[in-house]
């Protein structure tokens, strides 16, 4: 059966349910959110239809600028940490035995799917005073006495890297599996050490992949909404946390919606950039 354009109206039948569901429960909610972002907030958590830019104007405050700056900085730091560890790791993984690869992939998928609540809980336990890693340091004689390592920037950063690392590996994996092995073999034959071959042949060949991965992980990290809350201080809150906070606890839906619209625009711009990088890769 060849692919053919739909001939009769009934040929469109199968599309009806998926298209209807996606339109009604994704496009319409999205449009609702955009509409609400222009609404006027009332006292007591309600809002009335209006067309005001007040919610967007609040972006121009110093507080918001700080949150935005910190969110971007944190996401970039996490993306760089993940990619720097992820590239050599995925490269070595893609060159390992198949059975070993599968074990790692199952483990990475399991951690990736682990709820952010549970990751936050696990790290807060590991960084706690009574059950934490510092007890090990005391036992080893590295520290005088056990102490809590949260809340701190380091804790937020570590847990977010933990959360994004499996994602990074899974994004890099297909590109590295397909990487032509003769490339490194040629370098080795010409006398380069494995490490040198990796940095002079593999990394340059993957330049666009690396850029695209950085952007993907950056967006992923931008979406982290619980870890900064559970492991950090209020000054470590990100845009995602602030949106949740405004929507649920401050009941300021219009402002939350305006921030979400802003976050969408940042993300979309970056997705576009990563697609562009991907196309450059194919063009080569």
């Amino acid at each position: 059966m060849r692919r053919e354009p739909p001939q009769r109206l009934s040929d469109y039948g199968p599309l009806l349910f998926p298209a209807g569901m996606l339109t009604l429960f994704f496009v319409v909610p999205f449009a609702t959110m955009i509409a609400v972002s222009f609404f006027q907030r009332q006292q007591g958590g309600f809002y009335t239809p209006a067309f005001v830019f007040d919610n967007y104007a609040r972006f121009l405050s110093l507080f918001f600028g700080k949150v935005l700056g910190f969110s971007l900085f944190l996401a970039i730091a996490v993306a760089i940490a993940c990619v720097v560890i992820g590239i050599p790791f995925t490269y070595l993984l893609s060159r390992s035995r198949r059975s070993l690869q599968i074990v790692w992939l199952v483990a990475l998928l399991s951690i990736l799917s682990l709820s952010e609540v549970m990751i936050g809980f696990a790290w807060s336990t590991l960084f706690s005073r009574t059950a934490g890693i510092t007890n090990l340091f005391v036992w080893l004689g590295l520290m005088e006495q056990a102490q809590a390592l949260t809340p701190s920037f380091g804790a937020v950063m570590t847990a977010m890297t933990y959360q994004a690392f499996p994602y990074t590996v899974l994004v890099l994996y297909p590109a590295l599996v397909r990487l032509d092995p003769t490339l490194t073999e040629a370098a080795r034959t010409l006398g380069a050490s494995p490490v040198k071959a990796f940095f002079t042949v593999v990394v340059p060949a993957l330049r666009n992949t690396i850029l695209a991965t950085l952007i993907m992980v950056f967006i992923f990290a931008l979406g982290s909404y619980l870890l900064p809350q559970l492991l950090g201080r209020p000054q470590h809150w990100t845009l995602s946390v602030l949106i949740t906070d405004q929507a649920i606890y401050q009941s300021n839906m219009p402002f939350a919606a305006a921030m979400a619209v802003f976050l969408v625009m940042v993300s979309l711009a970056l997705v576009g950039l990563s697609l562009y990088a991907g196309q450059q890769r194919q063009a080569k």
């Binding site: 998926p18 599968i102 549970m118 934490g132 890693i133 494995p194 993300s267």
Partner: protein
């Protein structure tokens, strides 16, 4: 080099395993204290998940939500993926894009969109709204695995069936469905596991009327510590590992993942 490689793998493995080891450790503490290494040994905190009414209800809510929403995601993805494979209709790709979007954007955006939508329609808080919300949020996973499954079908097989007089319906039932079944199952499995663990969308849609396990853990975290959080985390990790292990056992996991990222 092999030593260096082993060491590197070990270091990454340790980083990934360390928090989970500590959580597994505190989950078997005898008393309700946060202590590691565990003091005494007890599996009672695992029993708590099933015997304590609050935790059991959260578990049932989570499992029901995951089973139903993964099914809904599959029901949306299957006809769409089939249509895109069977027909030449470039404009229909917009729905493929819509299906992938919720998963690519930061989750808080989809969550807030659905929250404003359910609040505006006055349906906010109904348990079934969470099923629809998760079904839409996770439609990406079966959509991607199914697109991959369809693209792997040898078209000459289908052609042969059609030449012998089979119509679309018969071809689908006798040729296409058996071929894409592994992709159908893995798509469902991915959506199921992720829905089980999902927090923000569930919280924003039904957070005040229904408690799923992640919501329950988050609420419990704010009031202090109970080892049941740890035992639930271990349980969920095992469930995910078993399900993904089965997908790997009966399917081609490297291929599945290779193409998944390709599609993004």
């Amino acid at each position: 080099m092999t030593v260096l490689r082993r060491l590197f793998f070990f270091a990454v493995g340790l980083f990934l395993a360390l928090p989970l080891i500590v959580v597994a450790g505190v989950s078997v503490n005898q008393r309700q204290t946060l202590a590691f290494p565990p003091q005494g040994f007890s599996l009672s905190w695992y029993g708590q998940i099933f015997t304590n009414a609050e935790w059991r209800n959260a578990l049932i809510a989570s499992l029901t939500l995951a089973a139903a929403s993964a099914l809904l995601a599959l029901l949306i993805a299957l006809p769409l993926a089939w249509f895109l494979w069977r027909r030449i209709a470039p404009w229909a790709n917009i729905f493929q894009l819509l299906g992938v979007a919720p998963f690519t954007l930061p989750p808080v955006i989809t969550a807030l969109g659905l929250l404003t939508f359910w609040a505006t329609t006055g349906l906010y808080g109904q348990p079934w709204t969470a099923v629809i919300s998760h079904g839409i949020f996770f439609v990406t996973l079966p959509l991607v695995t199914l697109s991959l499954g369809f693209s792997a079908i040898d078209r000459s097989l289908v052609e042969a069936a059609a030449t012998m007089g089979a119509d679309d319906r018969t071809v689908f039932r006798t040729v296409v469905l058996p071929l894409i079944l592994p992709y159908l199952v893995s798509g469902y499995a991915f959506a199921f596991v992720l829905s089980l663990n999902e927090y923000i969308v569930a919280y924003m849609t039904v957070g005040f009327t229904m408690e799923t396990l992640p919501i329950k853990i988050f609420n419990a975290l704010r009031y202090g510590y109970t080892p049941t959080m740890a035992s639930v985390t271990v349980l969920f990790l095992l469930v995910a590992a078993v399900i993904f292990g089965l997908v790997a056992r009966f399917g081609d996991l490297p291929k599945l993942l290779g193409a998944m990222a390709e599609d993004k």
